[in-house]
């Protein structure tokens, strides 16, 4: 077993190294940012002296190296630091906003896969037919549409126009889980549609690639029906590239969420970063970028583990 353990440790070390690089880069970026949280916090008619006092109180005037040391040590303890603006720890702020972003990403991926996998497979099997050409054209157009533009149109038509769904926000404190989810329908569609186009195209390409392989011809020579050939033999082999693209699009969804959350006024992680940058809330910017990077690294790890399940040739 030690080979497996050693390999896992190696992966873990790799992941931590990546996060260390990300943390350092984020720390540098944020420190180079002009605009000073103290100035923003105190409002426009604060005197330079007031700003200097607040800076020292929050510890912003300590030498960079000290601040970096504190930041990295904090990370090891899992403490992402204290938000300047929100009066709570970055961890709590992120956790409070995790729900909308998590569900937005989850729904978008579910919508994307629900559409993309069957359509992608079917258009690959039915290559060259009218259905295939329609699918290719639609996915081409859908992946060219900016998700925020689609979002705005959805708001105009469904929320303001027909009043079917809430235009923005995420419900008040008393709104139950179901009512909050209602707020996620339109954003999920805006994000899901664009992403499903990408996944459909990848699924189709992966299936076409696999359908050309020799073992598919062997299966047909055995007298297997077309559906068994496609589902049992071809699809199993196309899963690896498909899993890769789904993993990639989950990461892209988190980025896409930034814009969509702003358009729909969802109090999610994306919205938090945009407001944190506008009010120069360093710890929150650092914490969020790091957590998003960590999620990306985690997704990568999960996809690698899935490879092992799907393809026996892949060893750890």
């Amino acid at each position: 077993m030690n080979r497996i353990a050693r390999a896992l440790l190696g992966r873990l070390a790799g992941m931590l190294l990546v996060l260390a690089i990300v943390a350092t880069v984020v720390f540098v970026i944020v420190r180079v940012t002009p605009g000073d949280p103290a100035a923003v916090m105190l409002g426009s008619d604060a005197t330079p002296q007031d700003i200097a006092d607040l800076r020292s109180r929050i510890g912003l005037d300590a030498p960079l190296i000290v601040q970096y040391g504190q930041f990295m040590l904090g990370l090891l303890r899992g403490d992402l630091g204290q938000s300047i603006f929100l009066g709570q720890s970055v961890g709590e702020a992120l956790l409070a906003r995790a729900e909308p972003t998590f569900f937005l990403t989850l729904f978008s991926i579910l919508i994307a896969c629900a559409i993309a996998l069957p359509v992608g497979v079917f258009s690959a099997v039915r290559r060259g037919t009218l259905f295939d050409q329609v699918v290719v054209t639609l996915t081409m157009i859908a992946s060219s549409v900016p998700s925020f533009w689609l979002g705005l149109i959805l708001i105009q038509v469904f929320a303001v126009g027909l009043g079917l769904l809430p235009a923005s926000g995420y419900g008040g404190p008393e709104s139950g889980f179901l009512e909050r989810i209602q707020h996620l329908v339109l954003p999920a569609i805006a994000l899901g549609v664009v992403n499903s186009a990408l996944i459909t195209r990848f699924t189709r390409a992966a299936m076409l690639d696999v359908l050309g392989d020799d073992y598919v011809r062997t299966a047909r020579a055995k007298g297997a029906t077309e559906t068994r050939v496609v589902l049992k033999h071809a699809l199993r082999n196309a899963l690896v590239p498909i899993i890769t693209v789904i993993g990639l699009s989950v990461a892209m969804l988190v980025a896409g969420a930034v814009v969509t959350e702003t358009v729909f006024g969802l109090p999610g992680v994306g919205n938090l970063v945009v407001s944190a940058v506008l009010r120069r809330d360093y710890p929150v910017i650092q914490g969020t970028l790091l957590v998003v990077a960590a999620i990306y690294v985690l997704i990568n790890f999960i996809t690698d583990m899935l490879y092992i399940l799907v393809d026996p040739r892949v060893r750890l």
């Binding site: 990546v18 690089i21 990300v22 105009q156 945009v274 690294v297």
Partner: protein
């Protein structure tokens, strides 16, 4: 090796692929419009005339006017310049970075692990978030947005280049070049890079498309490039306020983005069919 090694025939094959042809035509229109903007734009992009603001599309103003009474068609044409400039800059930077890192990781076994970790780190920054942070850090200039997006897209190119290099490195004509005693830089440039051109070109078109979408999102969020020249994203941002009363402010810049990105996707797909599939896959 499919007959795609016959790169002389590539242009003819490309044109026979109807989708790629359509993509090339639309892209040509967009690029020409941007280049010849001063000649073909009916009005100066920033010419104010408050009196006839928010006019619907009419003979004199094909796309109508915005909240300052400026002609939207002219602004859309000029906006094309910035969006194309930024996206081209991003493609150039990510291609250069991507090729250097990709070839280094693919050709020199010792560099593979460290570079791959670096690529993982660069890839783990969602493009919009890094761009926002960088734009806030270095100020909203064209260069900042190019750097921000260039860094986040470089890994996408680097991975394809690394995959292709791993395949090409085993090719006999590369090993022949080594046995002929050609210096390494010559082997890398004349033999390796020349054959990387097509897979890189394919991925570059898709990066171009993503860069345009990202640039539009950034300027929409108000953290994009800050030139007094309009971009499609800023036009959408200021048009949003009047979406109900003057929808044409939102429609035409949006369509401009969709068509430009669509043309690139079509072109990219057309090119991909010409390239040996083994070279366009990530390893």
């Amino acid at each position: 090796m499919t007959d795609t090694t016959n790169f002389l025939a590539a242009p003819r094959l490309l044109l026979r692929n109807r989708a790629a042809l359509l993509g090339a035509v639309i892209l040509a229109i967009v690029v020409l419009a941007a280049l010849l903007a001063p000649l073909i734009a009916p009005y100066a992009p920033n010419k104010l005339s408050i009196v006839n603001k928010l006019q619907p599309p009419s003979a004199s103003h094909l796309f109508g006017t915005d909240e300052f009474g400026r002609d939207i068609l002219s602004r859309a044409i000029f906006a094309g310049r910035v969006s194309l400039l930024v996206s081209l800059g991003v493609v150039a930077l990510s291609t250069v970075l991507g090729v250097i890192l990709g070839v280094a990781a693919g050709y020199f076994r010792a560099l593979d692990a460290p570079i791959s970790r670096l690529l993982d780190a660069m890839m783990s920054f969602p493009d919009i978030l890094l761009a926002i942070a960088l734009v806030a850090a270095l100020g909203p200039s064209v260069a900042t947005v190019i750097i921000a997006l260039g860094i986040t897209y470089a890994p996408r190119l680097a991975r394809i280049v690394r995959g292709s290099t791993l395949v090409l490195r085993e090719m006999p004509y590369i090993e022949a070049a080594i046995t002929l005693g050609l210096p390494t830089w010559r082997v890398l440039t004349r033999h390796l890079l020349l054959n990387l051109a097509s897979p890189v070109l394919v991925q570059a078109t898709f990066v171009f498309a993503s860069a345009m979408l990202a640039e539009a999102s950034l300027s929409f969020l108000g953290v994009g490039v800050s030139t007094d020249m309009p971009t499609w994203g800023t036009m959408l941002a200021s048009g949003r306020e009047y979406m109900n009363s003057a929808p044409w402010l939102m429609i035409f810049p949006g369509l401009a983005i969709v068509f430009s990105v669509l043309s690139l996707q079509l072109l990219g797909d057309g090119l991909r069919d010409l390239v040996d599939p083994r070279l366009t896959k990530e390893r």
